[in-house]
């Protein structure tokens, strides 16, 4: 009794587990709303019953741990593998095959019981079907057997240990034992073990790029700066990295409740959409199965009504009919033919996809999900992350301003141009500014000196022979950029040497309050130089002089304004501007002077301004071109980034995502509400705006604007955008590299992750990985995907065409009462032997000329199988093939004495074993055996005629828009398949084991006709 009860309870639990999982998913979707970062610290401590000095007591911690569970990410519920396997075996299409196989076996069994004969045709067909089902089932199972690893990759991000303060003592515990309220010590190099509110910090910086997409490390202090938890400065996130400094904080969220935990949960639980190709195939299968069932039922019923009305339509008797009565058998075979055609198609699809996947792998695209290849082809929107995808995720100097001119520094990956800076006076860089610049070289030199000296970054030793931009640098991202720039320009020789020659006497590091950094150097000529770098407005405020036109001048208000304008100009481009100034100290300060930082004992005002440098995370070089090609191919590219709107917009302009002259900046919801629907304008939407938007408003924006940039978006918002696009019926590709992209990557029709810079999580969630991080590979992918779709279409047209000459003989047999022109085994041979290879070979067909010029297909109307295709395959080609077959059939019959008009209505006598003397036109009398031999000859001839006409069909189907002359016959596999097809057909007809007789004039005449 007790055990019974327990069982019941368990079942109830397992039922509700699904609901829990669903509820969890919904919960994960919601934005994080919390006030743990904004409430007063004392209030927070009270709430968590912790102490800001001593932390929790071990007892408290144990209690909470028992209550809330460990600090880990809960994996989503898993279905047992065996159930999954069975599920793949009985999915829609397979079910159809099973029914077919069952019908066959039923026919065999019933025949066995009633007449004690073995029906070998049905037995073979049944076995073939079962083998096919199991094979495709296994294949599909292995295809789907990989989405498991997302959770594991998230788990890898959890640090194993954490330093906590409990009861005033610092101890190291397993991070899964961490609980809410724990006081945690953080230092540089650590991974953050939970969501933590910082209460003390010393120069603490975290790298949030995985979560928010910001390229630069962020300062973390104790004051709350924003209501939004993702923006505030006193919060560090689970699994991000600490890069500098130390801090202490209180754990406010653990495990699944953390921001990262939510992303993980969301990603793992999201069900990706069915790929378009899967939808297409489903659609096609639906049509075919309805067709097949319809034909089967109609002809079965017709047979019943015509001759066998005395048999009551009880199920059992229908079974007998299926097995014994020719019409029944053939109605069943009509069904089987269709099913067989699907088998061929499935094989073709698989081959198509794997061939392309292989080709893509050669182009550094790793395709994880085979079907994704085609999805890329039907993509109509690419939602691209900025950082690391469109850009290099590496700060680089892109402009500098000196001597009253903005000069563009080459920000391509190789920075070839930069080497030209080396040349001195005679140097000819930027002919546009030629004369002026010759004068300016001195100013440039001074700027470079300043940049070199006022820089703490250093190259890591032992990498001297590597290209400069690949060398590793110790230090801050922007300083790294400046160092590399200096190294490249080599204006003062190698920076390390230059620094060695001009040793640093004192340094005041950068701080977020002063926003500048100062160092004092002893120059080679014995004098001392103060160099300073920092936020441009602070720097300018300290300057009274400026180096311009090769001389030091007073910094007048006019000049100041010019500088300001230059600075804003650069800032508007989304670049981070740094100002540089220096001051040559007078001779009273010597090398031996004791410089002191606290308090500074040297002049720090009335400096000489030397210039700006602006830094940006530059776009990858191939991106603009790729975006342009997307446009011509009718694909919209939308930028979805976690970075700031200005930067996002600047990059969007650079890569061509925004081409419209005007753009609207929508930083809050009011702007959205008053927006007119200007389609030709670009729009930049801020994350906070997005938060206030309803789904409908989002849809409207996505529909009305062609050029859209989303900035400051949270991971959930990225997901929201993707879903919005999908609501509009678009096929969405998402490219991304960070953890914050993972949910969107998973949800998208195709997720594309970066192979080098991408996080493991993003790679696990994606369907495709760009191994070389080259955005342009996506274009190749699109091309390949479209090609697949085209080729599949061709392949289907080819396969469908041969259905007509397979079905019409049966129709003629049943309705016209002629002896059967085409046997079941011959059909099997056509479908599975001769037609298979050519159909597959179409997968190797090369793309047609317009493939990248037309817009992406409309998933609603441009189906894999359209009415047009049906008409072409069935109405034109199929019918011609059938006519050809019938011609051969009648010709052979006539040559042997059975004239066409005589054949109609002859079936009963023809198929009767007791009629041993059927008379032909010449009065000859045919015994049963002779007749059957003649019939088999006809089968063979019909089959050969189908094969021959299929050659022509293959060539017809080879091209869609191009003519065959344009396309050429370069597809060797197709040519080989033609030969193989013919050889197989010959083997079937002429090998002595085959019961078919040879007949030489058949091919000759058919040739002429076809």
């Amino acid at each position: 009794m007790a055990s019974l009860f327990r069982k019941k309870v368990e079942r109830k639990k397992s039922l509700s587990r699904k609901e829990i999982s669903l509820a969890r998913l919904e919960n994960f979707r919601k934005e994080v709303i919390t006030d743990t970062h904004s409430v007063a610290l004392g209030e927070l401590c009270r709430r968590l019953q912790t102490d800001r000095e001593t932390g929790l007591t071990p007892e408290q911690a144990a209690e909470i741990l028992a209550k809330t569970g460990p600090n880990i990410l809960t994996p989503s519920t898993r279905t047992p593998e065996i159930i999954k396997f069975i599920r793949t075996l009985i999915q829609g299409f397979s079910l159809l095959l099973w029914i077919g196989a069952l019908l066959c076996f039923a026919a065999v069994v019933i025949r066995m019981i009633t007449t004690h004969e073995t029906d070998s045709d049905n037995l073979i067909l049944g076995c073939v079907l079962v083998v096919v089902v199991v094979l495709t089932g296994c294949f599909m199972y292995f295809q789907e057997h990989k989405s498991q690893k997302i959770m594991e990759s998230f788990a890898n991000m959890v640090p194993p240990k954490a330093a906590v303060i409990r009861n005033g003592e610092t101890m190291t515990i397993m991070s899964k034992d961490l609980v809410i309220g724990d006081l945690v010590e953080l230092k540089f190099g650590d991974r953050i073990p939970a969501d933590i509110r910082v209460i003390h910090s010393q120069g603490f910086k975290v790298d949030n790029s995985a979560l928010t997409g910001e390229s630069e490390p962020q300062f973390r202090g104790s004051e709350c700066t924003s209501d939004n938890i993702l923006e505030t400065k006193n919060f560090t996130f689970f699994s991000t990295n600490a890069v500098e400094g130390t801090a202490r904080g209180i754990v406010v969220a653990c495990g699944d409740q953390t921001v990262m935990g939510r992303i993980a949960g969301l990603t793992a639980r999201l069900q990706p959409n069915k790929t378009p190709i899967a939808r297409e195939l489903e659609h096609f299968m639906k049509i075919i199965s309805v067709w097949a069932c319809f034909l089967g039922v109609i002809f079965g019923a017709a047979a019943l009504a015509m001759n066998y009305s005395w048999i009551e339509a009880s199920l059992f008797l229908i079974g007998i009919i299926v097995a014994n009565v020719p019409e029944g058998v053939f109605s069943q075979f009509l069904y089987q033919i269709h099913v067989l055609c699907l088998v061929g198609l499935l094989a073709t699809v698989t081959v198509c996809l794997s061939v392309t996947a292989k080709k893509m792998a050669a182009k550094n695209c790793l395709v994880k999900n085979l079907e994704a290849v085609e999805t890329l082809g039907s993509t109509s929107i690419i939602c691209s992350d900025k950082t690391g995808t469109l850009t290099q995720n590496k700060m680089t100097v892109c402009h500098f301003w000196c001597d009253n001119a903005v000069i563009h520094a080459d920000s391509t990956t190789n920075q070839e141009e930069a080497k030209n800076y080396t040349e001195n006076e005679s140097y000819n860089f930027a002919e546009k500014t030629s004369l002026f610049f010759k004068v300016a070289v001195l100013g440039f030199k001074i700027l470079m000196r300043c940049a070199t000296l006022c820089n703490r970054a250093e190259f890591i030793h032992g990498e001297e022979d590597k290209p400069i931009n690949l060398r590793q640098v110790r230090g801050d991202a922007s300083e790294e950029a400046i160092l590399k720039f200096v190294e490249l320009s080599k204006i003062e020789g190698s920076p390390s040497k230059f620094r060695h020659n001009n040793p640093k006497l004192l340094e005041i590091p950068f701080s977020s309050t002063t926003k500048y950094q100062i160092s004092v150097h002893a120059l080679e000529n014995g004098r001392c130089l103060v160099v300073m770098k920092g936020a441009p407005e602070r720097i300018l405020a300290r300057c009274t002089k400026i180096f311009i036109n090769n001389e030091t001048q007073e910094l007048t208000d006019d000049l100041r304004r010019i500088c300001d304008r230059a600075c804003t100009e650069l800032a508007e481009k989304g670049e981070r501007v740094l100002g540089f100034c220096d001051l040559l100290l007078d001779e009273s300060y010597t090398r031996n002077y004791q410089f002191c930082a606290e308090p500074p004992n040297f002049p720090r005002r009335e400096l000489r301004f030397v210039g700006f440098m602006s830094l940006i995370d530059p776009p990858r070089p191939q991106v603009p071109d790729a975006v342009e090609r997307c446009r011509t191919a009718g694909i919209r590219v939308v930028m979805v980034t976690g970075d700031h709107p200005i930067t996002a917009k600047a990059i969007a302009r650079q890569v061509g995502i925004i081409q419209a002259k005007e753009s609207i900046d929508a930083f809050n919801i009011n702007i959205i509400e008053t927006l007119p629907a200007f389609k030709d304008k670009a729009i930049v939407i801020h994350g906070s705006t997005l938060r206030d938007m309803t789904n409908e408003e989002l849809d409207n924006i996505l529909y009305n604007y062609k050029e859209i940039v989303f900035a400051r978006t949270s991971p959930t918002q990225k997901l929201q955008i993707v879903e919005g696009c999908q609501r509009l019926g678009e096929i969405v590709a998402v490219t991304g590299d960070g953890v914050n992209d993972a949910p969107a990557l998973k949800r998208a029709d195709i997720g594309i992750a970066m192979g080098i810079s991408g996080s493991e999580v993003s790679q696990q969630s994606a369907d495709m990985i760009l191994l070389d991080d080259n955005f342009a590979s996506i274009i190749t992918g699109v091309e390949e995907g479209r090609k697949i779709f085209d080729n599949l279409k061709k392949s289907i047209a080819y396969t469908l065409a041969s259905n007509v000459p397979e079905i019409l003989p049966f129709l003629a047999f049943v309705l016209g009462n002629i002896p059967l022109p085409l046997g079941v085994m011959a059909i099997l041979c056509i479908d599975l032997l001769t037609d298979m290879l050519p159909a597959i070979s179409l997968a190797y067909e090369k793309a047609e000329s317009d493939i990248m010029l037309r817009p992406p297909r409309n998933p609603k109307t441009d189906n894999l199988v359209t009415r047009k295709l049906y008409f072409l395959a069935y109405g034109h080609i199929g019918l011609i093939e059938a006519m050809c077959g019938f011609f051969i059939y009648f010709a052979i019959m006539a040559e042997h004495g059975f004239m066409p008009c005589q054949l109609f209505g002859l079936r009963q006598q023809w198929d009767s074993e007791s009629v041993n003397d059927l008379r032909d036109y010449y009065g000859q009398e045919w015994s049963y055996q002779n007749r059957k031999e003649l019939e088999y000859t006809c089968y063979t001839a019909f089959m050969i005629s189908v094969v021959v006409t299929q050659w022509a069909d293959l060539i017809v189907c080879k091209t869609r828009i191009n003519s065959i002359v344009q396309q050429g016959m370069g597809n060797m596999i197709l040519n080989i398949s033609l030969v193989v097809e013919t050889v197989v057909a010959c083997m079937l007809s002429y090998l002595p084991q085959m019961n078919y007789l040879k007949f030489y004039p058949v091919m000759f005449r058919c040739w002429n006709y076809a």
Partner: protein
């Protein structure tokens, strides 16, 4: 605010819909017309190559081969798969059924005028008077003796006659067993003796026929057998068949004198020539 509605995403092809479908219909009409015409022309041209009298492929080059099958009458009609003749001599409906069945086949033998008259001249052939190209041999219904229609082929006496016939094959000439010393070993003894008893060598130019029970038990149940014409075979002068009008293939009537009633008897009949 004037955001376009979602419904406008799908445009329906209502414009010119009927016009287009009419055009398509017309196209297919012409297309299929052309196709049918093409096939018809091809078929017609092809049929012109065939001779109306002489088959294109004969004997071995045709699938029919040069081995004619042996057929028999009456032919059971209600069950196509079986060759069982189920006879009740006392049941008039039953034997009349068989009688009608045979008569349907023998009609043209009894009234030769019924078959279309061609140029061929019907002649009574003997072993020495063979037909010429334009002549066909007469089949004498009287040679079947007691197996005549007047006696209902003896079905009512439960000693039924069946008629054996050889399938016609254009141009097939039998190769006779006309040497009593050179007969195949599996030929029934009765037939061997019969051949041995025929003294005139030209009369041995026959396709011999033998019938016997399939198993020893069947032989016993079957009892005695009598062949008409008494030559026990198809006389050679009927061959070869040249599709001449008025040609009737020769028949051999086999009479089972006293088969045991109430059981199924399997009978095997064979025609004997060197090339059968």
């Amino acid at each position: 605010m004037n955001f376009s509605n979602k419904k406008s995403f799908q445009k329906l092809p209502t414009f010119h819909f009927y016009q287009i479908s009419a055009k398509i219909g017309l196209f297919y009409l012409i297309f299929y017309g052309m196709l049918a015409a093409l096939v018809a022309i091809c078929m017609w041209v092809f049929l012109q190559t065939l001779d109306p009298r002489i088959p294109k492929w004969q004997e071995d080059s045709s699938i029919i081969g040069s081995n004619p099958g042996l057929g028999f009458r009456p032919m059971p009609k209600n069950n196509e798969e079986s060759t069982l003749i189920w006879l009740q001599g006392t049941n008039k409906i039953n034997y009349l059924n068989w009688y009608d069945n045979i008569m349907e086949f023998l009609d043209k033998y009894y009234t030769p005028g019924k078959i279309e008259k061609g140029n061929a001249y019907v002649k009574t052939c003997t072993y020495t008077e063979l037909p010429t190209e334009t002549e066909v041999c007469e089949v004498d219904v009287k040679s079947w003796g007691e197996c005549s229609r007047d006696q209902y082929f003896n079905y009512y006496r439960s000693s039924p006659c069946i008629f054996l016939k050889l399938n016609k094959i254009y141009g097939w000439t039998p190769d006779y067993y006309d040497d009593p010393n050179d007969l195949p070993p599996d030929m029934p003894k009765q037939l061997k003796e019969h051949i041995g008893n025929i003294t005139r060598p030209e009369e041995r130019r026959n396709i011999w026929v033998s019938c016997e029970g399939e198993n020893p038990a069947d032989v016993e149940y079957l009892g005695k057998i009598k062949f008409y014409p008494s030559i026990q075979g198809f006389p050679g002068y009927y061959f070869p068949f040249r599709n001449s009008e008025g040609y009737l293939s020769p028949l051999v009537a086999v009479r089972f004198l006293r088969p045991v009633s109430g059981i199924v008897i399997n009978i095997e009949c064979r025609a004997w020539a060197k090339n059968i």
